[in-house]
Amino acid sequence: MDSLKKRILFSALLLGIGFSVVAQPPPLEVTKETHPGAEPPIWVSLSGFSGEAESVLRFDLYVQGFNFTNADNAQYLIIGSNNGNFQGRVTDRYNKGTLLAKAYSGASLRRQTHLFVDEFMKALGRAGISQTKIAFKKDLGSTSEIAVADFDGAGEQAVTADHTIVAAPEWAPGRLALYYTSYKLGNPDIFYHDLSSGQRRVFSRYAGLNTSPAASPDGRRVAMILSKGGSPDVYACNADGSGLLRLTATREDESSPCWSPDGQWICYATKIGERRVLCKIPSTGGHPQHIPTSGVLSPSEPSWSPDGQWIAFTAQMSNFEICVVPAGGGAVTELVTGEDPSWSPNSRTLVYTRREGGRRVLSLLDVPTKQYKDISRITGSNSQPSWAN
């Protein structure tokens, strides 16, 4: 058997059906985006897909910076079928070759399509997001609850049934577990909730406010806002609740701590004089440093990208605006109207909240292209999304 035959047979074996694969060119070099909101979309054409497979393809690709055109104008042709199972091939018209050819069996068509999009991203040298999860707050009028879903809103599941105010969910990194605030015991307290066992425990229940939990990237510590010292301040403790450390001691109302990916810094919103600002403080204690956000007012809700490069936040001006600033501070890019951004694990897409009349809608934003799309599968009023990392 010559080597080509071997390769074809092996590929067919791996794919589980007789779908031949042409040798793949090496992954393309993707240059690092340095201008949020200024990148053009990557043009693709779809043919042969229908129904759920097509809608999943369109959603997944659009929120990762792709847009759709005809075969003559596209860089990538995605051709395939979804008769029972998904199969697809991606041809790169610029580099003249098949980038990817896959067929799937087993699991659902939806899952197969997500996997295909992830394989496409991988072939482009990117990490896919199609199998990631989000947690969020469901506003039910006078009460709220926490829920989780796939990043596109599929498979929504209730996490709490506290029949009170529940807020600020954040994932424990790499674990099927959440930290969140619940007023269940008559006070805003922080809970740790293991979603696989369904067990939860009170994580922080000091007098006054216990809110905005944020686990460190290694999962060993948790930053939060407590007011036990007489004013809302940033604290951090170990994941077992021990070693509580007060990081700020101001009369201002600090809020929304988040971690730098190396765990060295905690960024948060506060006030200096009469100005609302973002600051960062060493996570083991020390001097706070102002993170300049020139050009916008009242920054809050910072979210540090997992690659360490950016801080996304909400600016409050005539509307709420989703903004990004280099993690060291500097020129702010205003992206879209919305609030409470949370980064995808690959530091490219943000999930955020958009107000629409009296309702709040979860939406996804591809930061380089500024393309955004509502997660319309999640109905009702929802806010405070957190992307699992």
Binding site: L209, G243, S300, S383
Partner: protein
Amino acid sequence: MKATRFTTLTALGIALAYLTAGCHPQNMRPIYGSVNPTPEVNPMPPIQPAPTTMPTETPTMIQLPEFPGHTNWIENPDQLKDDTIHFAYDSSVIPSGEKSKISSVADFLKSNPNTAVRVEGNCDERGTEEYNRSLGERRALAAREALVGLGITADRVDTISYGEDKPVDPGHNQAAWKQNRRDDFVVLTPPAK
């Protein structure tokens, strides 16, 4: 020989197909959102003690009591209803026109020494959610500090913030927002023994 090899390969193919394409996605039990769980590497450096001096001003802050505080006390939200304090936009400073209400609450507490009060801080919807939760707490604490300033013992005053989650007026206009930026006072009495 060829046929045997073909059969073997077919069997292997079916097995592999089952393992890779067929079985894998269903049996995969991923850690949500994480294709590669964070490995337990890079042990955290030892935690340094907090600095003794903070670079900010030395604020006067009154510590909150340890729990349980007034858990299970009976709540009366109506007694001091007329003393609800309203705030300016994005401010936790008690307006001078509202200070008489603090005196009224202090007088009630002095006349009813067995009671305590819970100050409930609230915000309009024009801040972001967690920012409002902190601002609401600051508003409640402002009233607490003012009550302590009038001679009320600090441990008779609990605080809670609802942020923007408990508006009295669900509207999206100036009139509603003005009503929602407030401190409510709930009288607490000890449970009957």
